[in-house]
Subunit: 135 residues, 4 copies
């Protein structure tokens, strides 16, 4: 499972553009993080919502993938993000979680934190639906 | 209004990372597009959902900004994306629209299309809430 | 199709509690309305969000059902509602629409209007996902 | 706080139509439940999504209200529901929670459980935004 997720992760060029890393993989729980690069910012210099979203969506998607057999991938059907604070800091950390596994639909959530001077601030919560697809 | 939006757009480094351009600005309606760059892809080579989301969110946000006085910016409070087809093609085009203007909250939507060989396919719809903030 | 939808509608006791009626059925488009009954209100006397949601969700669900073969039903996987104005008036009218049909997932939207003294005000927009299920 | 919430609750006629009760009020956490009445059902006899939504939205809204001064009410700006299982049972229990308090926006979530033969099944998760309004 771990190898499969690492391989899928490595094939996403956007993940490399973001400089993201896969930090923890457990059944139903995946953590991804990325620096807030000079090229990942919005107009005030904070992390762009596309980065916050991308990390949260990926963490939730890979959390879903941990619940599936090896011949399946997941795609995001829909996901909603509430932004709870400006994403100020050095790094974003996204923690994805499976709320309800399933063969047809997997309900997931994610929390995204900004790390600044060693302390974490919640900057976003996501709730969505992943769909298993045969490879 | 047009100059203000162009200036805000130019200050977002992520927008430059994505190679996005501001294609049309009308009251309550903004169109943004971007190529699907080699560095903007998911594991199957299609546009990454972070790109689709980023363009849709930005188009919706700037559509909201067209309804506000000059001393205000907008921030996304929340937005939801339903992905309707794989984002296959050369370019994504996001069309943002104001559904309900307001002083405290602005309800917005966006459609994102993938352009391939001259024809557009709907790849995502978004619905969300923008919040005006004083500069 | 029309008879199937009417039969499904009649079997929902909540629909009768709300006093809702099925006003129009076309492929991909269904309109449902209901009076704002004395028992359907929130603390200020306006229509309760549960009524607004229930009508919007049902209109969207039946719009999805019009795209399916006769041996299938739909269930709501998820739906999001943005409330755009207080639901003040005599009657709510919900117009559901299919955005993207599909065999596994159907993306839908709905608009809900409050009718007061002959004029309609948009009170909510919904965006969601319906799932076909075999009967 | 407790009295204020109870008074607001009692003024909602829909809550009485649903037979809902206010079961627990703590800062940032409110529990509401209701029987699945004969008049609250969908076509298969399970709880209607309007009931599930109404309880989840109310629990989340009252959780938000616990964080506000006495001269304020809340209204739902937007909320999204993912339905995770059919709502089969005798009673629905909704647990609302504040994720991020605020003066302009309050981010909330709720879980809804169906109670059947003494055991609880998660039937829905909600994530949304409440807005404080002066009375």
């Amino acid at each position: 499972m771990r190898d499969r997720i690492k391989a899928s992760f490595a094939r996403q060029s956007m993940i490399q553009t973001f400089g993201a890393t896969l930090d923890a993989i457990e059944p139903g729980l995946v953590t991804i993080s990325a620096p807030i690069l000079p090229g990942s910012r919005q107009q005030q210099g904070f992390a762009h919502a596309a980065l916050t979203f991308g990390l949260g969506d990926s963490a939730a998607g890979y959390a879903a993938l941990t619940t599936l057999p090896e011949d399946q991938e997941v795609v995001t059907a829909e996901i909603k993000i509430n932004l709870t604070a400006p994403a100020i800091g050095d790094r974003l950390i996204a923690k994805g979680r499976v709320i309800k596994p399933g063969r047809r639909l997997i309900v997931v959530s994610a929390e995204v934190f900004a790390l600044k001077d060693g302390s974490e601030t919640l900057v976003a919560v996501l709730q969505g639906t992943m769909v298993p697809v045969k490879l």
